[in-house]
Amino acid sequence: MSFVRDYAFQGAQMLLVLLLSPLLTGFVRKVKARLLRRQGPPLLQPYRDLIRLMRKDVVLAESASWLFRVIPYLVFAGTWVAASLVPTFRGGLLFSWSADLIAIIALIGSARFFLALAGLDVGTSFGGIGSSREVMIASLAEPAMLMIVFTLALVAGSTQLSIIAAYMLSSQVGLRVSLGLALLALVMVAIAENTRIPIDNPATHLELTMVHEVMVLEYSGRHLALIDLSSELKLLLYVSLIGCLFTPWGIAGPDAGPAAIAIGVASYVGKLAAGATLLAVFETAIAKMRVFRVPAFLGAALMLGLLATLLLFVSGSL
């Protein structure tokens, strides 16, 4: 019986992240628009965009290869699986042991690897510029993320996300310098990974300053829909990750009753809304930086992560 329930919850989680992610993006856009005193698009606009795109024909460049057509599905699958393994409203996910935090980060890395290849596939200059900048950013963001994982793993004694989240919820944690540094670094990495301002601007097109959007410039129709959905899933993944690691309150235990589950869902939605609002405020308040300032930004994140790890190597209680 409990086995069936575990399957049901894992399935529910997969559907939940898939269904909520466009809403999260829509919410961020709405809050940003309101902050700028604009009306903004409706909350459900991302869903409409996705459905519209999926119904359209794919217009494929003549020089595109078979890989170009497979990549959207690979990117989507990798991101979706990664997002499904982050505890959202209920801990102790059935398959959480199949990939720990390092593997989740690496799955996101796989998705990015293929997306960067897609940028080069058609053989246009725009795709190339996007890919080359994306891998430059990733070459710093990934080690920074791994340093954050090291910090968390050393604090909790595990790289399993469910166990780290349970540890964070327990009273053993306390206030630690290393966790503060890790949180700061994680926020910086999350901004870079999701190509938000100040690293990149998800709202622009036709501008040489951007990274992600030029990389996927040649995509259209259902392929573009999948890539957009993957980006939305990735944003949700990072917000959920920060939520379950640093604000683990409300996540239901593995054998919680319906009431606890309801609280878990409510608190998760609340966390997403809070995260989205903070992101919107931050993006509205700050200007985009030049591409070659990005290494300094991410280098700082890497150093913060390394410092946090070093502190833990020196003393387990810092």
Partner: protein, 666 residues
């Protein structure tokens, strides 16, 4: 008994060399030599695998070599594992060469050396006394050198061969001295005697340094890597694959044999040396690779990077072993050896792919390739598998071994030494950095060579490679997937090696539910490559099926969009250099003193503008150039000795004689 069988195999390989000389003129020689090599290496591989699994230690002594010593051979767990790696790589290379070797212009320059080279690598791993080890080691160097200069009309290859020969001799010299110290004044050249006698701390330290230098120069650790990116690409491709995928592993074997087996219990600071070298090698290797646009040279530099990763694992194992944390040492050693296997598989695969491209287009320079995925779809697919594996991305094998290495790093706060407490996190950061940069580098390698549009007519008219080459590549690609999704099998197979060297093994993996791997305890970490792979494939297929059925499956072909400004010239694509430009700017300005020099013609002039990139190899300038300069000056000074009169020569001879007699008298 196994050792005797394996020696028969080696004898067959050695006998193939003179047969190849006799047959060289015949057009069938290629098929016979590579076919026979394939069969023998396969049998050797089976023998090695049986010895690894059943783990009987078998020995054999031949009445060769030093008269009072004989030639001792022994297959224990460590040797058996490396024999598997050597012969798997050898078999794959032979299968590949059945097709590829037919395009060889001068087969008589390669064929005799190829089986001898395979035999030499087998002998190094089996040798059980210092004399046989060094003879086999030098034989391995010389046979590979002969193949490096097989295409001797290219002056670059001759230079590569020269640098290689110098560095190989230097490495052997260091090993010779190291074994001399280990043998002691009694001259106990048999490994069993060395194992029994524990040298003093100072002597052991000296042997460690000599082993790091001697084995390291063959493995290609920074700063002794200079020959590797010159020599590996110069050889014919199947030999490049063997040198990069297998011979560097034989060097790692030499290092492990000396440091973990012969040298006795380690001191804690040894691990500092090995870890430091490993971290620097990993990052420098990948940074060098990012700056390359020659496909084979890029792969050779990645060998340097992966050797760094292996040394990081070995360093951690030494640290844990020194402090008696045997279970952690077993984890780190298993991670390092698993990476040895993985690297030999995907690096051979990638070299084969590069060789097929070279055959099809005549080009190694990525700037002259592009769009090969349309012309060579199967080569492109297997090369992509290799790229994903070497970039340490799940669910393939590169990730599995790097994941284990990360798990070992996470255990190191338990080490009491302060030096290690500061060094290990830094090395962890370097490892993470090298993994991320490797992914960037292989986006470049695959993207520029295989994707986009053809940059030259040769690339536009490339033909898919032959069946033998493809078969070899498919086998290796399948191994990448199997080792990635079922790492537990490989961890269990490595248990006897860890048991022999550390005295402890990792927990048994194969009985676990769903074939998950759990290196320490389930509450700490676990990874299931199979499930991740199945999930990704399933969710991707479900998404594809649902969208095609419910939404739309129509597709139109049209010219590329490119923001409305598509340019038909393939020159508008990103090249390898332009792709690496952001990374060059971020890292290269410090590491290589990279400078971009733009030349703008004055207004009105129709001369083209030029952008040149100036990179400096600081290691070469700081280490090799002064030594080369010193040797040059010294030989100039000594040159007068060549033009003396006969009287002066006689005086010199007399003086030398007197001096020697004096030395003897004192």
């Amino acid at each position: 008994m196994m050792a005797v069988y394996a020696l028969y195999g080696v004898a067959v390989l050695l006998a193939l060399a003179p047969i190849a000389v006799i047959l060289a003129a015949s057009p069938r020689a290629t098929g016979i030599v590579y076919g026979a090599s394939l069969v023998v290496t396969l049998m050797q591989g089976v023998i090695a695998l049986m010895s690894l699994i059943d783990q009987p230690t078998s020995t054999a002594t031949l009445p060769l070599g030093l008269p009072w010593l004989g030639a001792h051979f022994r297959i224990d767990a460590l040797a058996a594992f490396f024999l598997v790696v050597v012969n798997l790589g050898g078999a794959a290379a032979s299968l590949y060469a059945l097709g590829y070797g037919r395009h060889e212009e001068s087969p008589q320059r390669v064929l005799p050396f190829y089986p001898a080279y395979l035999a030499a690598m087998n002998l190094v791993v089996m040798a059980d006394d210092a004399f046989s080890f060094l003879v086999a080691w030098e034989f391995m160097s010389l046979t590979s050198w002969a193949q490096v200069i097989a295409h001797h009309r290219d002056s670059e290859n001759v230079r590569a061969g020269y640098v290689y020969l110098l560095m190989a001799s230097f490495g052997t010299l260091a090993l010779l001295l190291g074994f001399g110290l280990l043998a002691g004044s009694d001259g106990n050249y048999v490994f069993a005697a060395m194992r029994a006698s524990h040298p003093s701390a100072a002597l052991a330290a000296l042997v460690l340094i000599l082993a790091v230098v001697g084995a390291g120069s063959k493995a290609g650790v920074v700063p002794l890597h200079a020959w590797l990116p010159l020599a590996h690409p110069a050889a014919p491709t199947q030999v490049s694959a063997l040198m990069s995928g297998v011979m560097t592993k034989v060097a790692v074997y030499g290092f492990v044999r000396i440091v973990f087996d012969l040298l006795g219990p380690p001191d804690w600071w040894w691990s500092m040396v090995v870890l430091g070298i490993g971290g620097i090698t990993a990052v420098m290797g990948v940074l060098y690779a990012l700056m390359q646009h020659d496909l084979k040279r890029l792969l050779a530099y990645h060998t340097v990077e992966n050797i760094g990763i292996i040394y990081i694992g070995l360093g951690l194992a030494l640290a844990f072993k020194a402090y008696g944390l045997a279970w952690a040492a077993a984890l780190a050693l298993t991670a390092a050896l698993f990476h040895v296997f993985n690297h030999s598989v995907f690096k051979s695969l990638l070299f084969f792919g590069a060789g097929s491209v070279l055959n099809a287009t005549g080009e190694r320079d990525m700037e002259h390739l592009g769009g090969l995925i349309h012309r060579m779809p199967q080569t492109a697919f297997v090369f992509l598998v290799g790229c994903v594996a070497i970039s340490a991305l799940p669910p393939l094998n590169g990730f599995a071994s790097e994941w284990l290495t990360f798990q070992a790093i996470l255990l190191s706060p338990q080490l009491p030494s302060w030096g290690l407490k500061f060094l290990v996190p830094a090395v962890g950061a370097l490892l993470a950095l090298s993994a991320a940069l490797a992914a960037a580098c292989f986006v470049k390698a695959f993207g520029v060579s295989f994707l986009g549009r053809a940059r030259t007519p040769a690339a536009a008219e490339a033909q898919e490679t032959d069946g033998y080459s493809l078969a070899a590549m498919y086998v290796l690609a399948a191994l990448c997937l199997i080792a990635g999704v079922l790492p537990g099998l490989f961890i269990d197979a490595l248990a006897p090696v860890a048991q022999a060297l550390i005295g402890e093994t990792m927990p048994h993996q194969s009985g676990l539910a769903w074939l998950t791997i759990v290196p320490i305890a389930e509450s700490r970490s676990s990874y299931n490559g199979l499930l991740v792979f199945v999930f990704v494939v399933l969710s991707g297929s479900v998404a594809a099926f649902a969208i095609h059925r419910l939404a739309s499956d129509r597709l139109r072909r049209a010219p590329a969009w490119d923001c409305g400004y598509p340019d038909p010239s393939p020159a508008t694509q990103y090249t390898a250099s332009s792709f690496a430009q952001p990374i060059r700017r971020v890292y290269g300005t410090t590491v290589f003193h990279a400078r971009e020099i733009g030349e703008m013609p004055p207004p009105g002039s129709t001369a083209p503008a030029r952008l040149t990139v100036d990179l400096r190899d600081l290691i070469w300038e700081a280490l090799y150039a002064p030594i080369a300069g010193f040797i040059g000056i010294a030989t100039d000074r000594l040159n007068i000795l060549q033009f003396l009169t006969i009287r002066r020569y006689l005086t010199l001879v007399f003086a030398a004689l007197v001096l020697l007699l004096l030395v003897l008298a004192i």
